[in-house]
Symmetry: C3
Subunit: 380 residues, 3 copies
């Protein structure tokens, strides 16, 4: 487990809470456990955090883990702290931070630690980077070693471009965005402010468009992809995820969209604001998704579909028709021991027939025994 | 939506049709709408194309969109043009291009615009590229910044290698191929003419081959992969797709194969000419696929399978046995609201038993009421 | 098919067997077929191996292929050799190597040929690589062109880092590991000895962690990911596979883990020793997998699950609950011709109802005809 800061650079707990961007989130440090004097060098879990790390209790069922906790401080809800006090007469060996939303406060503190780490990294334009003469780099831009920025691309203030990135011509990258190593942008890709693009991300590769070419039997004529990609503000895109450029118009990711690793967004798709997708999802071309959708891992979407707002798709589900009504949808074959699966899967190919047989029994039932017998012979 | 050419460089419509490679495809410009004088700077959709863009009507059900179309010109079939004239007494505000295959003509025009864009890019060997002394680069080869070409590799005339590509030793790349940024070829990979390889493509990584190593219980001995990868002419491979090298012989993609993004082709596979696969498909090792197959997104293939020619697999389908007969095959669990899915999925594990129960009713049926009652007790 | 060595560098068969690391595996060269004098330049299959290549018979059902085999030598089991002799009176045209495990011996010989190829590659630090002053490179490290090694990273002896790799700060790479081109390690990633990492691998990207941010409706607050990635010894990771860093603690791959291409391992996962996964598998965050598990291609795992040791999951299966008992598990919708699938899939949404109908017939059966008739009306 990483200790993030050297002891002499670790802030005291009150300083840390002040430094972190916790605007709008109330919290207070109690005297109990000596919280105010603790120096916090990192974050740990309830069971592993050491004497210089802060931790949090978010799930009340983990209450018991407080008893063996060796952290410098614990963030917890007032009611969980009250419960602890009922069970213990002595002050805890850790400082106490009360907050109605411990998980969110942990998230914001973790952001502070990560920002602090980023702040220690080298800044500036590495001499090995290859930058076109007519690229525009605003103030405070960092370009890592061996990165490439091509013609007429505009990199806004505070952007950090990792080692080995290739940014094509005629792109723009919004303020304070962070591109990790080995990100690739084709030409004409526009990324908003505060984006985080992880390694291996490819934005703007050609969409998969072909027309049968009747001039050569069996062959495909390429539909050149003339659109671009537009990504809103506050978007995060995971490692090795690809978003293809549009055929004629742009492929669009809204504001606050969060894509995990190894996702594929086809050309002409439009993904609504704040929609989040777990890893390995595939979205075929020209599909439109609403706002605040939540897509489980390895879900698959056909092309030219429309999803409304607030649609949740379970992991592994194939979506092949429009879903306009909010709610959770699932389509996953339940797993079983292999032998049992074999027995049951064999019936899948007879389901329509099985339903017919049941209907026949219902129809001809007790009164229709001769018919029933015939039916039996038909189906065996 | 991108306007691709500056007005002064936009060709007049007759010039554009002449310049584009439309050999074998008939089209004609009518006088109506003043088509011959229009200058075309780009391509748009029926609803968004502006006064300097051409568009097309391919789907007759979109006829009505012609009424509000502001494009410079529209490509459409003679019968759709006749239908428009029946509904309108005046000449349209756009030029008219008649063609029996508007979508194909659009595709060919789009290719022209993209080629034009490519033609404006810098050409030559970037000084930051690292090229082995004994690599062979034919005439007109472009190598982008920070690309690497290793020993004895032969790059044929007109090839364009993007920034940051790594081409291993003993490879060959056929005439006029286009490698976008960050393509990786291991040693001994042979790519045909006119290939398009997108960013993040990896050709020739080791196939996944291991033998249980009885000398260390539980451990795996690596099967070194000594074959290569051979890719035919006119192949396109999408972003972050991987094709592994063969164990002993080569993994082979035929001519005209089109692979979308994030596809995985295992070692020793042989993919037939003109077969096309949508994104996220996985093909396990040693599977052979015929010609002109069409594979939907996220379909999955077991290893050592044989598919015939003209087999279509629906997206999301798992293929675990040979398919020799042409036609379309599907195996997807239909999605439903989560609660409904839960109810129905619970029955999947009882299907074999359910069939047995139906059979028992059919057999013992109306005549066998005592037996039926016993059966009922058995199964509840 | 590649012939790997020039004739003058090809070892004689006895030398080859001695040179390869076959410790613990018995084999013997017979006089028949003149095996001792053969020079072996490469490895081929039974049907394609030429006069300077060795091949092997592992599957007794391929016996007949021996009759047309033109290889320099064949590795086969004593009983298969006896069977050959019964069918032929003359000595074979190929040398004979007897071994109880021909496939394993082939694997070890293939390793020798690949090591030999690696040995011919250039070694040393390429002048175009960018290496931080305080990175530590032990003896015999190779760094390819345009690779980047950042601050405080420790590269142990004998490691080979391919062209264009980016190794972040505070990493370590164990002895004799092989990183192919374009591998990316974020900061704080630790890889054991003898690892093989293929192109496009990304280790240590941020795990997918967000908390609903109640301060902005619908928005997500990022959980910065402060843990790292720890990879054991003898691990191989396929092309474009990603392993995310942990939220608080490390994501862990045990010793001898083998991951194929395009796999996604979420944050906080722990994968047990010698577990092997075929391509395109996705494992959501915080899932723990036991030792010696075998995971078929494109299988998908939910988050926070526990798998025991020796669990086998069939390709394409979605795992959404714990599996503690060893054995093979499957959950795949069987494919069918599309029309048949449509018929049968339509019943999936009625399965719970169908079961109810069967139960009603069983209950009310022959004796309850009025009830049965009502039921029939209800359900149609």
């Amino acid at each position: 487990m990483p200790v993030l800061l050297a002891p002499e650079r670790a802030p005291a707990l009150p300083q840390l809470l002040e430094a972190a961007d916790t605007v709008g989130l109330q919290s207070s440090i109690l005297d109990a456990g000596g919280g105010r004097d603790r120096r916090i060098a990192g974050i740990g879990s309830l069971t592993t955090a050491g004497a210089s790390e802060i931790t949090f209790l978010s799930n009340p069922r983990l209450q018991d883990q407080l008893d063996d906790c060796h952290a410098a401080a614990v963030i917890l809800r007032p009611q969980d702290w009250a419960a602890y006090q009922q069970r213990h007469s002595q002050a805890p060996p850790w400082g106490v931070v009360l907050c109605e939303q411990p998980y969110l406060l942990y998230a914001l503190l973790a952001q502070w630690f990560d920002q602090h780490r980023l702040g220690t990294l080298p800044r500036g334009i590495h001499p090995s980077a290859v930058i076109a003469d007519d690229a525009i780099l605003d103030e405070g831009v960092h370009v890592g070693p061996l990165a490439v920025i091509e013609a007429r691309t505009h990199v806004h203030a505070g952007v950090r471009i990792g080692a080995g990135c290739v940014i094509g011509p005629d792109c723009s990258i919004g303020q304070d965005s962070l591109l990790h190593a080995h990100v690739t942008l084709y030409h004409g890709v526009h990324v908003g402010a505060r984006a985080i693009l992880h390694s291996g991300v490819v934005l703007g590769a050609d969409g998969f468009g072909f027309a049968p070419d009747p001039r050569t039997p069996g062959a495909w004529a390429k539909i050149a992809q003339l659109g671009g990609v537009r990504v809103g503000d506050d978007v995060e895109i995971g490692a090795n995820t690809t978003v293809d450029r549009g055929a004629v118009e742009d492929t669009v990711l809204g504001h606050g969209v969060k894509l995990d690793n190894q996702i594929m967004i086809g050309h002409n798709c439009r993904i609504g604001d704040h929609t989040a997708m777990a890893a390995c999802v595939g979205v075929a071309g020209s599909t439109t998704m609403g706002r605040r959708c939540v897509i489980g891992g390895a879900a698959m979407f056909g092309g030219h579909l429309t999803l409304g707002d607030d649609v949740h798709i379970s992991g592994g589900t194939a979506v092949t028709s429009d879903i306009l009504e909010a709610g959770r949808y699932t389509g996953v074959f339940p797993l079983a021991k292999h032998a049992a699966w074999q027995h049951n899967a064999a019936v899948i190919g007879q389901l329509a027939q099985l339903r017919k047989r049941v209907r026949a029994i219902e129809r001809q039932g007790p009164a229709g025994s001769p018919g029933l017998r015939n039916d039996k012979q038909d189906t065996q």
